[in-house]
């Protein structure tokens, strides 16, 4: 019983962070803050949901698999976030150069 309550709480908290991240993507003004909302909030939400699912399944191997999924998602999303931000910054810099020169 207590386990189920904790699972539900974790899932709800995870969904809340996903909602916040989505709201940020839709509402924030520029690309960098949007990326910030997407990667930070959504990864946290995914972490909570993964913890909830691991608790629900309650098997050490499955928990390990779920944890590694979360870890790889973290790695992939932070790298792609960095790459997108770098691309945007290069675009802006070349644009500025054109405008100056």
């Amino acid at each position: 019983m207590i386990k189920e309550v904790i699972t539900v709480i974790l899932l709800v908290v995870g969904c809340f962070f996903f909602l916040a991240g989505t709201l940020g993507v839709l509402r924030f003004p520029d690309l960098f803050s949007r990326l910030h909302a997407l990667t930070k909030a959504d990864n946290l939400g995914l972490g909570f949901i993964a913890a909830g699912m691991a608790l629900h399944i309650a098997s050490p191997w499955a928990a390990l698999k779920i944890f590694s999924i979360w870890l790889f998602t973290l790695l992939a999303s932070s790298t792609s976030c960095y790459l997108i931000a770098r691309f945007q910054r290069e675009q802006e810099q070349s644009k500025n150069k054109k405008e100056r020169g």
Partner: protein
């Protein structure tokens, strides 16, 4: 409760499909297409088809989405001004030339509405034939694997799977015919970014291991050659994006071997089994498990190589290289 979830998912899929086609900008179309693929994958999980869900998420949404994204760089980033002109003049949703197009458009919508009604009725009234579940269940012990979908794919209907590997190879050859072979170009500059390089170095063994796990796990559960092949193909794509195109690094004969080994081994095995007195792809039940695992591994290698080659070839079709085009013709 379950009807509610399914209905929401169904409405979401239809909404995303509509949005995908109605979105004004091409980038939106492609990103909604990713979301549509994921919604379909969820629908397949709801229908108990986990294998199909993995394949959809990996190939139809992932791999194809990557190809579209790559094409976007050509289509919308290089010529933004031209694009806007095109949209204004030729977009069917802008009402510039309404009069000349009114009749065909009306006919199209009427026809679509009629077709929708017919399709809904056909799907609603489809007769109950009982399906092949019982037959598959009865023969499962002889197939050499425990997962019914893998048994159908690689034993009961192995002919289909063999031809499918052929179709992928054929697609690659057709792409070569369209754009010229650009696989064997010298490797470009390695990824200049240290973070990207490290991440690619980290993900290559992980993806390989995960692919091998899926391949072996296909014997008992959802997974198998195609899912593993996409993961291994993702390695090739990552390395290509990191400036180390696989097909330029390995010798030419090895590339050709990798592309064809699955198809050829499958065929040779089929003929050997025929020579042994059985039908084409009729595995002896005692050795079926081992044979299926070997066939699956080689097929996965071939499909992964073909996917990598398709991506590498499409990635190098850029507009900015007129000299390149002339030299390949």
């Amino acid at each position: 409760m379950s009807v509610l979830i399914d209905s929401i998912l169904a409405i979401l899929a239809v909404y995303l499909a509509l949005q995908c086609l109605l979105a004004p900008r091409l980038t939106q179309t492609v990103f909604i297409f990713f979301a549509f693929g994921l919604a379909l994958a969820l629908a397949w999980v709801r229908l108990g088809a986990v294998d199909v869900a993995i394949t959809e998420a990996a190939i139809a949404s992932g791999f194809l989405g990557v190809l579209f994204l790559d094409a976007l760089r050509d289509f919308s980033f290089t010529a933004p001004n031209k694009r806007e002109n095109l949209e204004a003049v030729h977009d069917p949703l802008s009402r510039n030339d309404t009069k000349s197009l009114l009749l065909p458009r009306l006919a199209l919508w009427l026809g679509l509405g009629l077709f929708l009604l017919i399709a809904l009725e056909a799907v609603w009234k489809i007769p109950d034939g009982g399906g092949l579940t019982a037959a598959a269940e009865a023969l499962l012990p002889e197939s050499g694997v425990e997962h019914p979908v893998t048994a159908v794919l690689l034993n009961f209907r192995a002919y289909d799977t063999w031809l499918e590997i052929g179709v992928i190879l054929l697609g690659l050859l057709a792409i070569f015919a369209v754009g010229g072979i650009k696989l064997y170009r010298k490797p470009g500059v390695a990824a200049d970014d240290p973070l990207l390089r490290q991440v690619i170095l980290f993900f290559t063994p992980v993806l390989f291991l995960f692919g091998a796990f899926l391949l072996y796990f296909g014997k008992t559960g959802p997974g198998g050659a195609f899912q593993a092949a996409v993961l291994w193909g993702a390695i090739g794509i990552l390395l290509h994006l990191g400036g180390r195109p696989v097909f330029s690094v390995i010798p030419r004969w090895l590339g050709q071997l990798l592309l064809t080994v699955g198809l050829v081994f499958f065929l040779v095995l089929g003929f050997l089994l025929m020579a042994g007195g059985g039908a084409l792809f009729e595995y002896p039940p005692a050795h079926a498990g081992v044979l299926i695992l070997i066939v699956e591994t080689l097929a996965a290698i071939s499909i992964a190589a073909a996917l990598t080659a398709i991506f590498a070839n499409l990635n190098q079709m850029k507009k900015e290289e007129p000299n390149e085009i002339e030299s390949t013709n």
